[in-house]
């Protein structure tokens, strides 16, 4: 019987409303007991001292681009899940824009097999909404559900045809699958490179207006209400979207939403400016879709995350190679590598006083689990919690430790972050997956 005891940390388990000093005991890969001095009761355990640290359920990411199969130069299941472990994530939902895309049982099974073999943490596959992600015909949702997908998404592209989107939402209800939409109207963002506004004007780059997101959020909410389907809105980025989602939820629409660490903390100024407005640069590592927006949007997103209008933080971890980014801005691939900076970036909200730590942890653990109904799905008992019997997945955090972002030190192949050289406050000290240490900065002390 393999036993791991994590002693004396501040245990925050939002699902059970727990927040206090306690020990966490994991036996044979599952949570056995949580409580003061529980660790002292067990014999023959591997022991970790978490005094002064925060112990939480492993984070759950609804939006991770692992790139395998097809783009192994950017990331693999091994490197991506290693990066996840270093970011405190023990469950990642793998986006469907691989090559081949995740639109068949065979494709899903190949990812699950590879994850079983080389994955460092749990990988839950997402299937395509449309065949080939081409936006023309429905992908076989039933077949995909049978293969084990937890949601459907054509992320990277929006399903543009409103009739097809309506039917996607309708059809997926049979398998209770959320349809996760990348809300940006392709006709309105055509050739757009960054948020439409004064920075884009300064740089001479074509803009992607906030309204391109908001019109699709509004449209798809209406379609969700028409069909009773579950609409999940990926990476919400504007204050206008927040208002639409709040109203939809108030009406009882089956709508959930996620927000990324970068949309919560960075503005469009990242793209063009360094220390002042005198000179500009074209920072392709800050190019992402939907684009980084404005201060008012950040304020609205933070408020919505606190209140629960937005259900979850999701990373949209999008690793790219140097050749995808050291290139003309118009040609550069959109996306940021995020798993390894996610917690620290989100801690800025706590340090700024915009959200308390237990609420943030909720939005990174049980929040995403409930958003996609994984808490009521067979096979996921206790995911995102420290309840007895739950998976032995734990992140051990130091909310105040400062560190400097060094992309060269990332486990992810993607070094594409605008945060290089920046000091962040909040460190994932160690990560436990299924009772085993999968990430350890050396700061936890074995007892």
């Amino acid at each position: 019987m393999a036993t791991l005891a994590i002693h004396n940390g501040r245990v925050i388990d939002p699902a059970l409303g727990r927040d206090g000093i306690a020990d966490v005991v994991i036996v044979d890969g599952r949570i056995a007991r949580v409580g003061p001095n529980e660790g002292d009761m067990v014999v023959e355990a591997e022991r970790i001292d978490a005094t002064g640290l925060v112990v939480v359920p492993g984070f759950v990411d609804l939006h991770t681009h692992l790139r395998e199969p097809g783009f192994e130069g950017k990331e693999t299941i091994r490197t991506g899940t290693t990066a996840a472990a270093r970011g405190g994530y023990t469950t990642v939902c793998a986006m469907a824009n691989t090559r081949p895309p995740m639109d068949s049982r065979a494709a899903i099974e190949s990812v699950l097999r590879e994850a079983e073999k080389s994955g460092v943490v749990r990988v839950l596959p997402i299937g395509c909404i449309t065949r080939g992600r081409e936006g023309a015909e429905l992908a076989p949702a039933g077949e995909l559900a049978g293969a084990g997908v937890v949601a459907l998404s054509d992320d990277g592209d929006a399903v543009s045809d409103p009739s097809l989107m309506r039917h996607a939402l309708e059809y997926a209800t049979r398998w209770s699958l959320p349809v996760a939409q990348h809300c940006e109207d392709p006709a309105l963002v055509r050739d757009g490179q960054m948020h439409e506004g004064w920075v884009a004007t300064r740089l001479g780059l074509r803009g992607r207006p906030a309204s391109a997101e908001e019109t699709f959020v509004a449209r798809d909410i209406a379609l969700a209400e028409l069909t009773g389907g579950h609409l999940h809105i990926c990476h919400v980025s504007t204050a206008g979207s927040v208002a639409l989602i709040a109203a939809a939820k108030a009406r009882g629409a089956h709508v959930t939403a996620e927000v990324t660490p970068h949309h919560l903390t960075l503005t469009h100024e990242e793209v063009g400016f360094g220390d002042d407005y005198r000179s500009i640069h074209y920072h392709t590592n800050a190019k992402v879709n939907p684009p980084l927006r404005e201060e008012v949007d950040i304020a609205a997103l933070r408020t919505a995350l606190r209140s629960g209008i937005i259900d979850a933080v999701a990373t949209d971890h999008a690793p790219h190679g140097q050749g995808d980014k050291e290139i003309e801005f118009d040609l550069a691939a959109p996306g940021l590598t995020m798993l390894e900076t996610s917690f620290a970036l989100c801690m800025k909200l706590v340090h700024d006083g915009d959200i308390d730590l237990p609420t943030l942890i909720e939005r990174m653990t049980i929040g995403p689990v409930r958003a996609w109904g994984l808490d009521i799905r067979a096979g996921f008992d206790g995911l995102g919690t420290l309840a007895p019997g739950a998976p032995g997945d734990v992140a051990i955090l130091d909310p105040n430790a400062e560190w400097t972002v060094d992309p060269a030190a990332f486990a992810s192949k993607g070094k594409n972050t605008p945060l290089a050289g920046r000091m962040l406050r909040g460190l994932v000290v160690a990560t436990v997956f299924g009772g085993a240490l999968v990430h350890d900065t050396g700061r936890v002390v074995a007892l």
């Binding site: 004007t201 001479g204 780059l205 404005e294 003309e328």
Partner: protein, 339 residues
Amino acid sequence: MTAETPTRPRNTQPAAWRHTDILDLDDFDVDEIETVLTLADRMREVLDRRIARVPALRGYTVVNLFYEPSTRTRASFELAGKVLGADVITITTATSSVVKGESLIDTVRTMRAMRADAIVMRHSMAGAAYLAAEHTDASIINAGDGSHAHPTQALLDLYTIRKRVGDLRGKRVVMVGDIAHSRVARSDMWGLTALGAEVVVCGPPTLLPRGLRPGDRPSHAESALPPVIIETEIDRAIEGADVVMALRLQSERQQGGLLPSLHEYSQFYQVTAERLKRAKPHHLLMHPGPKNEGVEIAATVASGSASIIEEQVTNGVAVRMALLYLLSGRTDLPGEETR
């Protein structure tokens, strides 16, 4: 062979010059602009000589790297280099490995490895010159990057206006047309406002960029764009103008759904003699070229007495000579070459 008396080398060590690349005018101080304009005057003098050739840039290599078609800017840089005795080669997309998919960075590094001292770059994408400048120690001159900037055009505009009207402070300069997609307008805004001109930009609402109105950006970022006046009605814009500049209208704007038709555009935004009556009596008329006569500018106006369009072209060579010379770091400008 006759030998003209060589002029004694004069020290032209510029009063103020800090640039190793010319990417846009947003990072130029007034004293640097003055340096360019003063030197351009001397270059204009060289250019007007019977034999316009001095060996000031002998052994200096200029590569024109043009990813986008251009006649006038390319020719202007070629002439500027040749008048100063530099070696000038021109590469266009049709004749280079650029079309074979070689990256911009590779191309620029290859040019530098062949000892190019300055690379003049025209590209359809904003920021291309910035990318090049980051990856080479050759001097990069931005000869137009997408809708972003065209600093050498702006400097020749400043030079041309200054030569005619003197001090720009308080002068009303009106640019009419496709402001949103105009790299000339963007760079001109920086240069003109730096020299104290009152700048008015005028165009249909679909061709005005967002964020230009001071209220469109947060107060901490007020300096992030030049202070300009925005008008959508041409008569109001031209009222009291010292200088009116018509911008080229690309016919794609109609296909892009930004304009109903070129005909309607010309009805509401063409610079005509009638409309110019609202300008100051001795106003100047400019156009960065190439012109669409009958669209953004009336033919009679383009060739009228107020037009200094051809002067812009000649001054363009002089300004580009000045820029190449400043970037070369050389400090004496000899007199006429013997022949």
